[in-house]
Every structure is written in structure tokens, then in C-alpha cells.
Chain length 373, copies 2
């Protein structure tokens, strides 16, 4: 065996590609890489599609993807309800169907850009996607089951089990009754017009539009009305905006405003730095704001010193992203392109990172380095 | 901003989960992580499916996923042929169709387990998948075009462009005429019964069963008969079994024999170490050997000290993996499970790594650490 590690592939961007400047802050753990290989980002050129192709949609699986035989599946609705019910997949498919596009994003999107870097799934910016989801309204089912007055929350339990923070657990999240009853909250059995693939929650998952992805529990085993508040690990130990290990912080809930661009030009294989032909370049991307509306997208071609408004397209749906375009006259040299969006409540993406201990909700502006020739 | 990096998530496997023992060899570069987030592995629980769901199949994209409008697409077949032809996607769909399962694997699978670690896409073991591919025979098209006597190779060019090793390039690979004419070599327009998704080569790709994946060029723009040998970057600069940067080495061609198992039990989120209930456990997995046949699979439950034969299922197809099972009586404690396959030419997976400079074809046996309770 040789005793030297091959250098990173040489590239035409030597100051990026040769490993200089990569200090301890870039020393990722093997476990982070293993998570990145399992949990799939949407390559950012996927922003070209208003509806993300199924296999290009981002994916975060906490434990293993459960293996489910369709014929053996049933969903239980119970707990503090007057009329507990067990439903087969066919029962659910016979109910009134709703099909709607939803932009889903992982709460940890942007985590691995933070300094210092929280150690978990090391997302850069690709933990997002928009699918057309088909299912039936949760609220109608809860009305039929008759949620009792003493119930304050609805608890969702997935078939996925594993160990996190020393605790053997099923994946569980709750919503307040008011949130669970919202008309856009759906029990989903199709994604982009096809039965759910296993990794996206087959046979049945929750989709809660406007919230970060952790709320949309996959592989639903049961739904229970409980008094609450539910204080399981995925509510209290994770998905918190906290400052340190001892800070309970605040719960992570709705998606924040964000815009991303399709990196223009062509990439270097190893560094992903972009090479762009000089002349007129149409920059494109998409922006979303969860339950709110995107009201403006600005582009900077000088690293954030100055900003100009982009042209907005119509939103793909009430809870889905909208496209934007911006014409740039690219002159030879190096440039850093940035994009930021603002919503109808006056929130604007920050230029500086939003650091929290678990790396949640970091919606700082995207930076794309390009070389124009 | 705080000045400390949070520790890796605590787990019940402290010697693995707390960061001790992670020396410089585990210091992955940010660029490797960025590649891992784009290039998707099949989570190994995906070995349960004889045909991998589309969005779970592994994916390696050298540059960007090209955006193709279906109506504007055409394939050119030219070069040293008597009758050059341009074909639309509809022309290709009207030709005789073949549907066949093929196990595809990236030549770099196993790279990031090597010490020292070659720097590129940091695959552990998940760069594999089996899809049902539908298309038409390349050989028939070449016969119709009339390949001239002086042609020795067929060159395949994708629509994907980028920079690699300081060179702006289209993705290009060649096959000898004899290889290209083999009856199993197909021009593919459907994967698992659906039109190719963009990331898998929409609208048309090559599939060369038995070879590592780099040969199955995606987003085919043109096919040319050439004198050859073609000496482009993806033939001479990459995909070589070489010992150092100055060693031309040998070309990477056919898949080697390999077996993988579904990690049993449940995982720890951060470390992926497995927790298994004591008692009888059925270990399962799949094995493949490219153009050859898998004739045996052995399992070790003591880290490779002793081996026992697994039961083999029928192959999913001539060029597709076959399942295996092994009943293990799991006793409490720590165990390292291993699996190895052998083919009909007497090749057996090695227990020690096969180190090459670019990390190609490392088919050493899988090791899965488990804790039985």
C-alpha cells in the first residue's frame, strides 16, 4: 500500500481545488459523509423544474427505510377520539382526493455552511424539492373519529425505528389540534402521480405544507389524539433553535423565506466552481416562504455589495415556490453571485449566517462563485 | 457566534460516536461532501428490493444534469458509417423494444473506505442498484448505419459538459466495435417502466450490462464510429487501475464480483451502528458479478475468522444480482458481520482492500458492526 493520499483532483481553480485554505473547519467526519450518501439533496440545477422529478427530490431518513407489504398495511386512528378506526390503503384511496404542489425543505438545510459546524446531516443548500402530492384531508378523518375535548394535540408515529441520543425510539412528531385540522394538511399516498416510493413514505405519509420537512412524518403507523404537549425526542431533543447543549430553545416550525439559483455555466467536477461564457446570461431560480408569500427576489453579481430586483413568475401553488429570472451581462473575471428573497411579512434573508446549536433554519443568502471567460 | 463546534451527537456507542479515534484519515474535504450530497447512494436497506425503486437507485453525475426539451431532442449516428442517421425519440420508441433488469455499479464504489483515501466522490458501499431498463438494441442500429471496415470503436458523447483535470469537455466514452455490437447493449428510454427521469439520462442513455457504470453514457447526444482508440479524459485520465499519478495503469472495464447485506436490526442515527435483538436473525442481501455468475456467497459472523455458506436465490436476470439469505443465532455482545461472494471463474472478494490511485474496483468484503442485546 502506498503511504500518500492522492491530492484532490487538480482543476483550473487552483486556489479552491488544491486543498489550500481547507483547515480544520473543513474536516468532516466519516459519519457525516455516510449520512450525506444516504440522505439525498436535489442538485441545484433541479431548480429548473417547477415540479421536482421524484428521484431528484431531497430526502432525509432518520433511521432505515421500513419495508412494508402493501396488503399488510393499515393505519390506526385512536387515542382521545370517540370512534377509533383502522383504515387500509384502499379505504384511504376511496376518500375524496386532493392533489397539490408543495415545496418541502429540511430544517437543517444550510447547516454545513455554518461556522462552527453543527455535526449532523451536512446539508449545504440542496435539501429542498417540490412535488405534487395526492392524498386525503386529515381534518376530515379527525372529525369523523370525533376528537374529544380534552385532546390538545395529534401525535404521528412512523414505522421507522432507531437510536438517537441514547434512546431507542419510533419516529414521532405532534401537531396542535388547530394545526392538524388545517385544510392543507394531507395524508398522502401518491407523489407526482405515482404511488409513493419507499424512501418517500410508502404506503402513507403526512404532508404539512408550510412547515419544515420533519413534521411530514413518513410511513405512518398510527395517529393519536393526545392531551399533550408531546415531549418526545424529535420535539424536545431535536428541531430546536437553541444556543448550546443546555438551552432548550424554541421549537422549529414553519419554513422561512429562501431563494436559490441554478448555478450558471458549467461546473468543475471536483470543486463545483462554475465557468461562464461572457455575455448575456439569464440567471434563474426559485423562491419560497412556507405559509407566507414571496414578494420580491433580489440578485447581486458583486458578492452582495449591490442588489437588483429579479422578475418573478407566478407561484407553482399556494404552498410551492415561484420562479424568478434576472438578466446579467457577464464580464470576464471572477464574480460572486448572490440571491435573496423577501416575504409579505417583511422578512428578508440575512446575509450573515444564522447560527444555532443544531444548525436549524439557516436561511442566509446563497453565494455562487463563477469565473467568466 | 459561539466559539465551539458542537460535538457529534452522543450515542449508545460512545467509542464510535464521540469522535475519538477519528484522526486525519477521517478528515473529509468539503468538496467530497458536496459531491456526496449530489451523487446518491442506494441506502443498503434498498437491497431488499429485487428491482430498486427509481429514486433509490445510485446516481453519479460528473457535471450538471442537462435540461432537455423532449421535442427538440435527436440522436445522431455518424462518423465512419455508410448511412449516417438522425433519430428522434419517437423513432427510437418505434423500434423493437427490449426490457431487462441490469445491476449497475459505480467503479468507485468502496473508494472512501480505502486508506489512504483517493479524493473524489466518497462512496462507501452504496453505489449500486438494479433497474428494469427498456430500450432498443444498439447493434441493430449500427448494422443499419453500416459501420465501415476501418472503424474500430464506437464513441458515445453525452450532453453533459464541464471541467475535469483542467480540461473543458463533453462526457465521452468509447467501446470497441465488438463490445458495442453485443446483443445486451441497449439505447434506453425507460427505467422501471417510466420515461427516464432527467438525472438518469432523459431522454436517452446507453446501458452496457456487466460493465461499471461510467460506460453507460447518459443524455446521449451522438454516437460515432471512429478508428480509435479514443483517448479522451474519461478513458485515459480517469477510470484506470493505476498506482500513482504517473502510472497510466490499466483501463477499468467489467464489474467484479461483490455481495452486500442489508444491515440487520435498527441503526443509530449518527453512527449507523446497528442494534440487533438476540435470537434468530435472517441476514439478507444480494450478490452480482457483472458478466459472470455468482456461484457462492459466504457469511462470517466473527469478523472474517470463519465463514459459512448462505442460501442463494435465482438471479433477477442474466446481468442482475441474486438474493441470498443466512440464518444467524445472534448472541448478546458485539459482532462484526461480513459477506463475500465468488464467481464462476474462481474470483473471490478479497478481505483486504484493493488500493489503486483513483480508488477503482475496490470490492473488498463488507463489514457490518452490530451490538446484540
Amino acid at each position: 500500500m502506498l503511504s500518500v493520499t492522492p491530492e484532490k483532483q487538480r482543476s483550473r481553480f487552483p486556489e479552491i481545488g488544491d486543498g489550500s485554505g481547507l483547515g480544520p473547519a473543513d474536516a468532516f467526519y466519516r459519519e457525516e459523509v455516510a449520512l450525506a450518501l444516504r440522505n439525498r439533496g436535489m442538485p441545484l440545477e433541479g431548480l429548473r423544474y417547477p415540479i421536482t422529478p421524484t428521484g431528484m427530490h431531497y430526502l432525509l431518513v432518520h433511521f432505515d427505510i421500513p419495508y412494508v407489504e402493501a396488503g399488510e398495511y393499515s393505519l390506526e386512528i385512536g387515542g382521545l377520539v370517540e370512534r377509533p378506526v383502522t383504515l387500509s390503503l384502499e379505504d384511504l384511496r376511496r376518500r375524496p382526493a386532493v392533489k397539490t404542489p408543495v415545496t418541502m425543505e429540511c430544517a437543517g438545510n444550510g447547516r454545513a455552511l455554518l461556522e462552527p459546524r453543527p455535526i449532523s446531516q451536512p446539508w449545504h443548500l440542496e435539501a429542498v424539492g417540490t412535488a405534487e402530492w395526492t392524498g386525503t384531508r386529515l381534518g376530515d378523518l379527525l372529525l369523523e373519529a370525533g376528537v374529544k375535548d380534552e385532546a390538545g394535540e395529534i401525535l404521528f408515529t412512523g414505522l421507522d425505528r432507531g437510536v438517537q441520543s441514547d434512546e431507542v425510539q419510533e419516529y414521532q412528531r405532534s401537531l396542535t389540534l388547530a394545526e392538524a385540522m388545517r385544510e392543507e394538511v394531507l395524508l398522502i399516498y401518491e407523489m407526482n402521480g405515482q404511488p409513493l416510493e419507499p424512501q418517500h413514505g410508502y404506503p402513507l405519509r403526512l404532508v404539512v405544507p408550510g412547515w419544515y420537512g420533519m413534521t411530514s412524518v413518513k410511513w405512518l403507523a398510527r395517529i393519536e389524539a393526545i392531551q399533550g404537549p408531546f415531549e418526545g425526542y424529535q420535539m424536545m431533543g431535536s428541531y430546536r433553535y437553541s444556543n448550546n447543549a443546555d438551552d432548550a430553545g424554541e421549537p422549529v416550525t414553519l419554513q422561512k423565506v429562501r431563494s436559490l439559483m441554478v448555478p450558471p455555466g458549467i461546473p468543475d467536477f471536483a470543486t463545483r466552481v462554475r465557468l461562464v461564457d461572457a455575455g448575456e446570461v439569464t440567471l434563474r431560480g426559485r423562491a419560497w416562504a412556507g405559509r407566507l408569500e414571496v414578494v420580491g427576489v433580489d440578485v447581486s453579481t458583486d458578492g452582495g455589495d449591490s442588489w437588483s430586483p429579479a422578475d418573478l413568475e407566478e407561484p407553482v401553488g399556494t404552498f410551492a415556490w415561484r420562479g424568478w429570472q434576472y438578466k446579467w451581462h457577464a464580464r470576464p473575471g471572477r464574480h460572486t453571485l448572490c440571491v435573496r428573497a423577501g416575504d409579505n411579512e417583511g422578512n428578508l434573508q440575512p446575509f450573515e449566517q444564522l447560527w444555532t446549536y443544531l444548525g436549524m433554519g439557516n436561511n442566509m443568502v446563497q453565494r455562487v462563485d463563477v469565473i467568466v471567460e
